[in-house]
């Protein structure tokens, strides 16, 4: 019914699904992210620019959870811990941790950020691999894994509060300087550093989930028993992806510390780990891009909600009403739209647009000729090998 020749013959009349324009819209999105701040940049737009920078950083954290939850099928409430490890390590080095304690000062402009990033990622990865190894060795899975990560988050927060000489206790580490400060536009240079890191991490994740390893992860998310019965070491794959995700969360934390100017125990605790879960659920898990969409949407609405409902009630009432509204929206999305915003994106992606033949050919090449449009199974979709054609 859906043989090659016939669907080819129909395509010119009905057009091409928007989804197959992926190379175009990815390029467009990247260009927009690069050019928009450059073109629209004015001094009084610092707030908007910083908002966008923040979204990219939080989106990166959500991306790390999407790898764990959307691909590995594990619910982690502990992503904040890895985020915090990156954040605290970066903060410690940027505020002259070595200078004060050891007396040897690394060049703060260059070495300190590298040390901060390296130590933060190493810390997060070792912690994640250790936790995952212990959990899976004792056959801890599912809900119990979530509880273990919750315990980890609570413990990490207590540790950070107690270990004052290094972490600054309750107040955290303050007055963290900017990364690679380029005057006269430090906000703009910071934005581009963050953008570069986010694009690189996103690209790596895209490759990862499309790879042999990523396919096995997807299989594990879909059916663990089946995945191991076809010969894959489920625990090993889950441990590894938990480690990779921890590294990405730590990267987000390391970008966050200089962006925010301070890190404190809230950032490492389960508050962070829990809110990310909501972002990913609303964006749609298992799509990577959904992590950013969910983060942006929730944060944006939350930020401007006060303006929207202000005419109807006082600001204090609005602030206390917000979590309630938010909770209901979250419940609604989880129950009604398990694919979150990405479900909508894919529905729009199925719309067909008429395109000239030459452009269609170029697109087919860019798509590898086998990117089939279908929700949820995008990574898994693949036409049968050519030998099967009639």
């Amino acid at each position: 019914m859906k043989s090659g020749p016939r669907s080819d013959a129909r395509a010119p009349r009905n057009g091409v699904p928007l989804e197959q324009l992926r190379p175009l819209w990815s390029a467009g999105l990247v260009l927009t992210l690069v050019l928009l701040p450059l073109c629209l940049w004015r001094e009084d737009m610092i707030f908007e620019l910083n908002f966008l920078t923040g979204m990219l950083i939080w989106g990166l954290l959500a991306l790390s959870l999407d790898l764990v939850w959307g691909y590995g099928g594990m619910i982690s409430l502990g992503q904040g811990v890895f985020f915090g490890a990156g954040g605290y390590a970066m903060a410690w080095f940027l505020t002259g941790g070595i200078t004060h304690r050891v007396g040897r000062a690394p060049d703060p402009e260059l070495l300190a950020p590298l040390f901060g990033l390296g130590v933060g990622i190493a810390l997060a990865v070792v912690l994640a691999l250790g936790i995952a190894f212990l959990c899976f060795r004792s056959r801890v899975g599912g809900l119990f894994f979530a509880i273990v990560t919750l315990a980890l988050a609570v413990t990490a927060k207590l540790l950070v509060i107690t270990w004052r000489p290094v972490t600054g206790g309750d107040n955290g580490i303050i007055n963290i300087p900017r990364l690679f400060r380029v005057d006269p536009e430090p906000e703009l240079s910071q934005y581009f550093i963050v953008l570069a890191a986010v694009l690189a991490a996103y690209w790596i994740c895209r490759r990862l989930v499309a790879s042999h390893f990523g396919r096995v992860l997807t299989a594990i998310r879909e059916n663990e028993l089946r995945a191991s019965s076809i010969g894959f070491n489920v625990n090993l794959a889950k441990t590894l992806i938990f480690g990779v995700a921890a590294a990405i969360a730590a990267l987000a934390g390391a970008l966050f510390a200089p962006y925010n100017g301070n890190v404190n125990p809230i950032h490492i605790g389960f508050e962070t780990g829990a809110i990310v879960l909501i972002w990913v659920a609303i964006g749609g898990r298992g799509f990577l891009l959904g992590a950013f969409i969910g983060t942006f949407l929730v944060q944006y609405v939350r930020f401007y909600m006060t303006d929207i409902i202000a005419p109807f009630m006082s600001v204090t009432t609005a602030n206390s009403v917000w979590p309630l509204i938010f909770g209901f929206v979250f419940l609604g999305v989880i129950l009604l739209y398990p694919d979150g915003m990405m479900g909508l994106v894919h529905r729009i992606g199925a719309w067909r647009v008429p395109l000239p033949e030459s452009l269609r050919r170029a697109l087919a090449r860019a798509n590898g000729a086998d990117a089939l449009p279908r929700p949820r199974a995008v990574e898994g979709a693949r036409t049968p090998p050519s030998g099967s054609a009639p």
Partner: protein, 251 residues
């Protein structure tokens, strides 16, 4: 028949006080269809779980092609050459039918867990996968999501996933459960072709007595965790003990 492909000795499994599998010996010859029958709760599925390492046994050994596989973890058994399907259908619901079998075929590909290697339509694994779909008759459903397939098609996909791992011994746990008459005929035909055309060995758990009598070379009857009788279909049909314990309850 050129000797045994699988040999289990004194297999035992206890669940608390219940002895689900009790000192079971099983010898499966190469390129045969060997059926395991018995009433519900006789321990057939548990025997499968012990053979493929999904459950640790409380005693006994399993030898596959002369190698002791009783100590191997579940996921390693596939690589040894044993594939299995499940009594409760086990597929990857959100993936396409094709990806369901492709990821199974990936298990035999070089760098099967590599984060750098992206599978392509031209991979040998994709061919293996496509052939597995053709064998079970699902080739024209390749691009559909697995969860929109009918029950019968999902049962067939479960078998295709096992086939795509290129096993020499296939364990099928009630592949016809819930199938229509026509689909049962297809499954029967499939099992026959697996043995005759693909030179596979099939260990089959099956409730449909007619089907079992038609396609089996050897039948082992389990009852309350023990082997009650073993022999050719004719011998089993003539057995008084079997008639009393098993067929009798059906009649």
């Amino acid at each position: 028949m050129i000797g045994a492909i699988l040999e289990a000795r004194a297999l035992t499994k206890r669940f608390g006080g219940l002895v689900a599998v009790d000192d079971v010996d099983l010898l499966v010859n190469r390129n045969t269809v060997h059926s395991l029958i018995g009433p519900n709760g006789a321990g057939k599925t548990t025997v499968f779980n012990l053979l493929c390492g999904l459950m640790a046994s409380d005693g006994g050994t399993v030898t596959f092609e002369g190698r002791d596989i009783g100590v191997l973890p579940f996921h390693r058994i596939t690589l040894e050459g044993i594939g299995r399907s499940f009594q409760r259908t086990q597929v990857f619901p959100d993936l396409t039918t094709f990806e369901n079998v492709r990821v199974a075929a990936q298990t035999r590909q070089p760098r099967r867990l590599s984060p750098f290697r992206v599978p392509r339509g031209s991979d040998p694994g994709s061919d293996t996968a496509y052939r597995a779909l053709e064998i079970v008759g699902l080739a024209d459903r390749a691009t559909e999501r697995a969860d929109i397939l009918s029950h019968g098609e999902q049962r067939a996909l479960d078998v295709a996933i096992a086939l795509a791992t290129q096993p020499r011994l296939l364990l099928l746990d009630e592949p016809t459960s819930g199938l229509s008459v026509g689909e049962v005929a297809n499954m029967t035909d499939l099992v026959n072709r697996l043995r005759s055309e693909l030179a596979m060995t099939v260990l089959l758990v099956e409730h449909n007595v007619n089907l079992v009598m038609n396609i089996s070379d050897v039948i082992t009857v389990l009852h309350q965790g023990r082997v009650l009788e073993e022999g050719s279909p004719d011998a089993i049909r003539g057995s008084r003990a079997v008639a009393e314990a098993y067929l009798g309850t059906d009649a």
